[in-house]
Amino acid sequence: MARILKSLCAVALLAFAAASPLEAAVVVSSKLSAESAMIGQMIRLLLDAHGIPTVDRLRIGATPVVRQALLAGEIDLYVEYTGNAGLFFNDKADPAWKDLEQGYELGSRLDYAANRIVWLTPARASNAWALAVRGDVAQAYHLRTMSDFARWVSDGGDVVLICSAEFANAGTLRSLERTYGFRLRSAQLIVLAGGETAATIAAAAAGTNGANTAMVYGTDGGITAAHLQVLEDDRHEQPVYAPVPVIRESVLRQYPQIAAIVRPLMESFDPETLQRLNERVQINGESDEAVATEYLKSRGWLK
């Protein structure tokens, strides 16, 4: 019996050992969201193309899970968003998060000092909460920025905003109202209990219950397809959530060329590019791998 147990233990240990990734390969991971998985795919494909062995562990969970996995060393690289560092380091109030450069500087400094995590090049796009209005409304009232929007609302504009309960109640909407000096009456709000942006975008596009303005994420894929226009946060009220690949220092030491490989990719992203790519994954339902491959080929980074 003891011998059987011993060999069973050995088998179990071997099974676990086999499940753990190879020592030298870079474990590329991502959150569940379409955008982070797609950028993760691009990085994985690029590393592969440069002869760096990778392990695909994309879409492993929500932010806390992926973050913990990186700190535990189970994964080596994933795409984070700059503003989230305020959450990680319990410092949401710092105004630096509302600026891409400052937020990147502060976040990368904190993360390196505390965890030896290196932030690579960020994209010049923000996945922050924003408001988007129907294209026809935006044209008729010349709405381009949040300031334009505030002026339109204060002049009695016929606005109906559809958003999530979190957006309406957790202070995001209030702080937008304070900064830009407008006030929405409750009759002008449609609050969805769950409130994914896919639902708000669809409702504003279809004009459900008169909705003409939607809560969105800045790089949401559905925005262009739904003929919505994102209002620019011209007073930089919202924290910037720019996608940024983060990597463990020990792995970057092993493959220092990764920084240079990732830089042109991240620099090639602007909000419109990401929206277009996200649209293909989120709306058209193409696989993130196919979209990533095609994008890299179109840029000449992949043969």
């Binding site: 099974a15 492993i60 929500a62 189970e74 397809a225 709306i283 058209n284 339902g285 193409e286 696989s287």
Partner: protein
Amino acid sequence: MAITAPRERVDRLGLLLTVAGAAALIWLPFVVFKSNRIVPGEPRGLHEVLPLWAALGVQAVLLGTAAVALGVTDARKRLAAALAGIVVLALAAAAAANTLTPPGNKVVRTALGGAAWVLLLCLGLMATDAITRMRPGPLTRVLLLAMTLAVVGAALSHGTFDNLSVMREYAVNARRFPRELLRHIWLAGGSLIAAVLVGLPLGILCHRVPRLRPPVLGTLGVIQTIPGIALFGILMAPLGALAARVPAAAALGVSGIGAAPAVVALFLYSLLPIVANTVIGLRRVSHAAVDAACGMGMTGAQLLSRIELPLALPVILTGIRVVLVQNIGMVTVAALIGGGGLGTFVFQGIGQTAIDLVLLGAIPIVALGFSASVLLDALIETLDHTSSASAATRP
């Protein structure tokens, strides 16, 4: 006689299914057409998506099935009629999807509508009811399951349903699907095996030492009440700490996320049914058999391995069946902590509000659970027969 005759003429279940199916076909859309995968979609009736002759043909077959469901008592005929209805319905849905999808278009989606789902449910109930009435032996049931899976698999790989929305999601995820499916089975099965290795001896111990029973079963019962995602969350911290402190554990793949917390959590959930059923199964063994074995001079180990365990096996297997089906469902949540499995599709789909992607994960999970249940049921019945037969021949 005169009183029972009219009751036999109309089958009650058949009446219920016919009314439900007819109502669904009249008031609910047959398919839903979406201009892309996340918009709500427009309802389309049977006559809007199929040529007149085909739509009438589908309705004629469904009427025929309804007539059989109402008036025919022969279980084989009822099964044949239900299967015919299912096949015609599936082909009609596939044809509708092909009609609604412009060639080469990868953006528009055709999903089954309310009528199609309700009709499939009604026909499925009629088929399972017919199979139950036929009282097939365990082997026949397994064969029926295998045949069903083979036919469905052949139709899917042949591409008949490629334009239906769920299969479009499959096409996009074709490379990942087998990997996540195997991982799902591995997580559910692996934690089950671990739970049997620990739970069986623990159950035997509880049987032999009655004093242990209340504390052990009580503790396992408390674990059972912790919600799945909470237990995963609770385990993340200690396992992460273990991996950080003990390098050997980390080298073996133990960590706060991924497969380790999922397997440990499922293992803990699995213990109660296995331990409890082992105790109950051993208690069920008749005193006469135990006394006879003792009288023959069997040692404790011989008594256990030759008499008690074989006689308790059907009950223990029932516990294992409960655990396996429960695990197949619960592994889904493992996707939230990096464990992988079919839940990845479910949660990705929820995040993108893409219902078809949710179904791509959910339908195989249901099919897996159902198949596991049929297989183990058949095994239990076979063993039950042999053990009661041997008990009968050797009183």
